[in-house]
Symmetry: C2
Amino acid sequence: MGFKINHIAVVVADVQQALGFWRDALGLPLQRVEHNAREQVDIAFLPVGNEGEIELIAPTAPESGVAKYLAKTGGGLHHLCLEVEDIALALSDLAAKGVELITPEPRLREDGILYAFIHPRATGGVLLELYQLPHAAKSELA
Amino acid sequence: MGFKINHIAVVVADVQQALGFWRDALGLPLQRVEHNAREQVDIAFLPVGNEGEIELIAPTAPESGVAKYLAKTGGGLHHLCLEVEDIALALSDLAAKGVELITPEPRLREDGILYAFIHPRATGGVLLELYQLPHAAKSELA
């Protein structure tokens, strides 16, 4: 089918505090922590098994979207990201079926990943991100 | 490390309506829909790639815990479930580290899965379930 779980994003108040649970108590490996200046967040990446990872996302500025989400909800599960093989095809297909898209056209990140978001109103309440990875290392999924 | 994503649970108002997005529009395969009489929910299971699945959970009685969650939140991402190799060891280790557990002892389901829940207060806001599968088909993870 070509789908794969890429990540589950969790909004937290503080990455180091959250790592006290996810890395130190639970025992997931920490791959890296990076600062995303554009989104004004710190992100910790914790791979799980052979597929997918947990991303712990903490705001670093009070005006950021993530800071507002944290203030409103207290944090927790934020979005789910699935990899697809052809994101442009997936988006045009979803649009043709009347699905509400936040980003009708895929956007390109610096690392080469194409991404888009589907509105929670269309999914039953889930903010759903789609990824198309830059290299076609999809043969494992066949 | 022995961890694996088992499922991401999404609370929805109606399973068939939600399948209109997840199966019909997005294109995930539907494995089955089952009624869980004890929890008073319908659950649709949609495998994603080689690991993990999305579970769409809808209340079938207004008094159920899921019905109350739906009424309060409108639905959406509900919990994350990770497989571990030895759930008793994981729980005793977490308890020793002061992690707040909802179910300090693993519980046994009819299908042989041992499960437990970790409190969102301990995880940064995520209701986290742990599974230990009945058969030690873990060699793929080594």
